[in-house]
Symmetry: C2
Subunit: 331 residues, 2 copies
Amino acid sequence: MTVDGTGRRGALLALDFGGTKISAALTESGSKEWLALERRLSPVGADATSDQRIALELAGEVLGGRRPAAVGVSFGGPVWAESGAVKLSHHVPGWEGVALAERLKGEFGVPVAVENDGIIAALGEHRYGAGRDVSSLLYLTVSTGVGGGVILDGRIWHGADGMAGHIGHLRLEPDGPPCVCGSRGCLESIAAGPAIAAEARRRISLAPHAGSVLLELAGDDPATVTAWHVAEAATAGDPLALAVMERAAAALGIAIGSAANLLNPDRILVGGGVSKSGDGLWKTMRRLARETAMPEVSLHLAPAGLGDDAPLWGAVALAEDLTGNGSEGAR
Amino acid sequence: MTVDGTGRRGALLALDFGGTKISAALTESGSKEWLALERRLSPVGADATSDQRIALELAGEVLGGRRPAAVGVSFGGPVWAESGAVKLSHHVPGWEGVALAERLKGEFGVPVAVENDGIIAALGEHRYGAGRDVSSLLYLTVSTGVGGGVILDGRIWHGADGMAGHIGHLRLEPDGPPCVCGSRGCLESIAAGPAIAAEARRRISLAPHAGSVLLELAGDDPATVTAWHVAEAATAGDPLALAVMERAAAALGIAIGSAANLLNPDRILVGGGVSKSGDGLWKTMRRLARETAMPEVSLHLAPAGLGDDAPLWGAVALAEDLTGNGSEGAR
């Protein structure tokens, strides 16, 4: 256990650049509680510079004058994990090639590690969440995108370019909706929140009567329909909303079953806002995953355990590894 | 290097239970040539007992009185790699639970290891073939089925049930053709040889004129059309055959691109009879794989190097590891 000059355990600072919001949290080595946690929405017109300024402000607030023993950072986009530099963000401009770990090292004077948010959330679930007791894990988060990460033999599997774990880009419908990655018909383009909302709006434009409950929830304005509205309306029995949620759930199940045939992990965890949209989604997702996975492939599919904090707890695991207290968490 | 009582290098025996044919081969530790190789077709009505008898006969022929230092075995179906017992064969009856490694240990009095053929072929390509210089590898073989194997950090990735690497069961068309695994629309049900032949026959029944070249190759009897005929007719410009090959190649490319997004391996190798059906297949497969893989995922797609011998060379690698001469090849 790291002990600082004052005899206290080492403080671990976790930062999360989430694309739409930024978080900073503080804990101590060995603890499972936050000493402090601050979140702020990334403002309209945000760029890499403003996001970093906000993160430093939040970090100052949670640190309250303490010096961290190490800093772990979750970034919502591809990174070079070895150097801690950002490749790019699909959501916030100006991040291309930013040497994020270097800058934060300069700021805090302590070791800093940076990981992609899907990968780091998988690490968080493995170290502190619903994947603690297994050695291999496939993690999915279904929210504004479909992110993911792979843990094999207890360690992050990065892949050749640090791009492993992108289950959101299993391509299910070759002629399906365009995807942010440049392809079409990826899982993300069918099952992420914005895809669910877009599909609902498309179906309302074709058959508004079928989505009356949904439309009411959205204040009778199809343009304001969100995935949350669709999930609510589906729970209330709205047939249009049910069909849209079924489509997303089936796509998730097929992708999960396919990934299980390729990777055969001990456990598969699903988190993110969309994963909380009710039993209907889980039932269809489980059925299609089982139907897709080979009979000899065991399928242990469960909800993620850490919710929106998974990337932050993954950042804690990274920071802990930097202090030499955790098990080695990356390769 | 293993040296036997006579001062010679240790002989390594490789056996391959391929479903339709059985092979035995002999080499020496450190060699890249066969001392002897024998193959025999599995007769009509074959079962586990007759296949084992044939394998022992072939082994006797290639050994010619020598005693092997170790035996590696490739099996065309799921196995328990740790114990060397067979789970089942989808092609030959009577294999359920056969303790193959134990029986062969009893026969030869030396260490024996057994692996699934897709997995062991991946190991063969990694140790002796087109994947020697990389640490992570995804291998596909496209023939009567679509098999595969995954090498990560230079070692076989087995997965929780020893079922990892089944890229043939990435599900691409949820309502597609029934697959031998019990699901529908798997890559194997679209791109394997029998699937290609079946799709050609189906299209001929709808529009015979479009497949005139193909029909001629098959002696004007649609029932005798094989994947080989389809590939030949496609090369000759037959539009029906071209469309069928395009469909298979596109499915392969999409599955490869999707798998690359999930695993991001250093290299992807494609072998098997179907992979040798011409530039057209490779062109479409490469295009769809690149279109499906994320821009940040590098895609190094190449033909497998060892052809039909990949499982046998993988068996050599297994045997070599048993003698303590190879690098550790499994986990």
